[in-house]
Symmetry: C2
Subunit: 550 residues, 2 copies
Amino acid sequence: MKFTVAQLNYHIGNFTGNKDLICKAIRKAKEAGSDLIIFSELCIPGYPPLDLLDRLDFIQKCDQTVNEIARECTGIAAIVGSPTFNNMAEGKKLYNSALLLSDGKIIFTTHKALLPTYDIFDEYRYFEPEKQFSVCEFKGIKLAITICEDLWDEQPFDNEFEKTRLYTLSPMEELARQNPDIIINIAASPFSYTKIEAKENIFISKAIKYKIPVISVNQTGANTELIFDGASILVNKNGEIFNHLPFFEEAVETYSFENIISGSIAGKEDKTDSISLIYKALVMGLRDYFTKTGLKNSIIGLSGGIDSAICLCLAVEALGNENVKALLMPSRYSSDHSVRDAVTLANTLKVHYDILNIEKPFRAFEDDLALIFKDMKRDITEENIQARIRAVLLMAVSNKYGCIVLNTSNKSEAAVGYGTLYGDMAGGLSVIGDVYKTDVYRLANFINRENEIIPQNIITKLPSAELRPDQFDTDSLPDYSLLDSILYQYIELQKPASRIIKEGGDRETVLKVIRMIDFNEYKRYQAPPVLRISSKAFGAGRRMPLVARY
Amino acid sequence: MKFTVAQLNYHIGNFTGNKDLICKAIRKAKEAGSDLIIFSELCIPGYPPLDLLDRLDFIQKCDQTVNEIARECTGIAAIVGSPTFNNMAEGKKLYNSALLLSDGKIIFTTHKALLPTYDIFDEYRYFEPEKQFSVCEFKGIKLAITICEDLWDEQPFDNEFEKTRLYTLSPMEELARQNPDIIINIAASPFSYTKIEAKENIFISKAIKYKIPVISVNQTGANTELIFDGASILVNKNGEIFNHLPFFEEAVETYSFENIISGSIAGKEDKTDSISLIYKALVMGLRDYFTKTGLKNSIIGLSGGIDSAICLCLAVEALGNENVKALLMPSRYSSDHSVRDAVTLANTLKVHYDILNIEKPFRAFEDDLALIFKDMKRDITEENIQARIRAVLLMAVSNKYGCIVLNTSNKSEAAVGYGTLYGDMAGGLSVIGDVYKTDVYRLANFINRENEIIPQNIITKLPSAELRPDQFDTDSLPDYSLLDSILYQYIELQKPASRIIKEGGDRETVLKVIRMIDFNEYKRYQAPPVLRISSKAFGAGRRMPLVARY
């Protein structure tokens, strides 16, 4: 008996594409003599389909595609994930299902019971939870087929409530009574750099608890914000990792059941540090956004600062230098080194760049507004005008040449609102909006690990928005290492101010930072989608009321 | 025995404010000799608190406020809505609860069972559903206390699935076995102009089914996008409407139990047409956004077209003319009547206006870009530059004078992407982003019903963006009445293209319009919050993947 794990990159709603991908893997598995190939959760429509699930025709298309794939399953069976109709009179209209296909037929169906509805997940919006469980006997082996969270009934959460059992049911506990031989878990679980070990431990602990091996199959690839790391894992019946599929790559691998039960392959595990995984995640996120929207060209406003430098490096890696343009837009406040450093970087990366000085439009706006602003002091208004002129120029080039503006704001800025709406906050996709400034530096050093790609001066100079003379980020913000530590505690760990202070945070600084975060919800509401690498990114996974007073 | 219905306007997270509001109503009810005052769902934190519910300190604050209010309940009892801790080892951390307070204590607690998780609702994100039900005996009367959706187990949905029972449980069916004397329903149910009768019918049908009266208590007021209409309703045991509280106003009314059972007050029902309700809803939405964020001043780009004209009227009604500024920003393509009509309107409404011609910055951008755009044809790029210059000017005045830019895009434009990101799509709040263009005209006629406030020429002239010579909306879009009919079927009714065509839509037009809607998801992702008046507005209630191919 042989199992094949298919870790693939699906495209939401692209039924033909997903079917081709799946059928190719089926053929490969057949060649390897496999009996059963396992695909990931909701692989038929791609994950997450969101409100496309509200369309009857979309679900009919899923059904039709499942049937077409079933007909390819001759001499091999396949487990696929798809939404299916709930035919009961009551309850949500759909199930999130795992289907076992063989010889043109669906020979076994099970539905997801534990429906994640937190952070970026909205599954109870669409699906009815399953309440009954049975193992599936296939070629004499009893399979406990579970869907993602069904196996995660004891996962720990980042919050103050200390509640670790989110669900009142344990599907695996029910299945265990029927003495399965192996646990199969199909998932669509996005990457978070803080959750790599926690995820592994879920599978390890279940293998140990039930004394049977676990095959987990995750998808890879990115769909807008969400980046799926793959990293499918096989754990033997002793809870040892038997094999790890690669991070951020497609893979189709075949194993014999006997090997999975007790084998352990030494040295195969990908023990990379978090910064290289973040780098790979962002590259995949960028690449897939372009591939899946069918677009090719990008443009970045290159300031000579570290954020846009990193984004340019990532874009070149993801899209190729021929598909990346840089626009340098110095102002009367730009320092000489800004343009020089930006040009050096663009030359190193062989990226086409143009230089447009923003002085003329800036003067034109100043003249236009002079009457209305008569006798009023210069303030942040004039700083914002400059940032917005740059957005107008970037968008103009983007419109004329058909490219996407990549946004270069980092998470620390986005958190405290240190950015201009419709200015440097503009763009089709935020590349590093989930990367704290301190990690931006780590990424720079990672990119420079062999050669100096990013000029050292970009890394060492004091961060500045250069929107007025002698301006530095530290004029209005705490030192980034201090700032990021407060941000992480408040955003990711969801600690209240009182606890951050009690644990050593300076009272005034903590309160000021939190006030800035809360006050700037309205800016983030209109920010572009952010490639997500953490357990709590800005965007759909963090829903805050704009008019709250708290 | 006397009941008081308290239909109030709460502010999310403003515990002091909400408590004051509640205590004032309690005092008023006491003066009227009431035995029991009923407040709406989650009135303690305000609805919807969203991810503030993930904060332990926020829930503790709710607890504390409930206890403080309980101490005010001497000689009267009160039903309030608040999140409470789920003390079981398993399940979500909170319940959405109704608490009966009397003499400083919580004497009865029940939790919501049917947790809406669709459209703008995310309640299963936070709350564990209740599974057990009991009536509450109070002064010899058995109360069936239900929370909003708990009574809506048979509501019809706008979609193709024809599934009308979203839930597998009927809390009221369980409660009915205990022979209650009256149904009390506390809700936080937002306005939708298509659902007014459907909502009434829910209460009427339950009264008829169980042969007991129903008191429904809804909140009023707006929290960012969501506008709550109040319109609390009392239905007697024969299913006749006994009383209707006003739409979009606070009210505290006391009734004797005997009257509620079988009384029916003729002529009290507010049978206003939908356009006047939409008008009131938008005024309340605007006013509350400013009141609750603590801001005062607004600015509108006044083009001489109908959309910005309507928004100006609404803003003046909501905020007072002294808190509204208009900015006229003609270009080389503006027609004379645009400025003239805009000035007439501003004068009629006694609104301060400034005129800034955008020619100078437009020239400056053209000069700057000339080198990069050499030999390339003029296209939509130059149109977008003009729209973005206007956004820069509006935001500059907004920054300098501390006012919020009101966005004036309508739903038809937003749907098909007929607008410029960071241009006319900019603003802190979208006033009419959920109003189709055909309804914009109906609003104009409603505003002009007694006097010509909006110059007739604004209403009758052909809609034009005036971004190039002789441009009209109909150059790129179908006639608005045709367009809106397709949009409504696709967006609100969620019909697939095939069905819209089958039911008489022109194939080519329908497909073109739907392609435009789907393609422009990326623009709407960055749009400001939209005041919601329909059953399906753009924004948080409609979640579409950006990279789908479907």
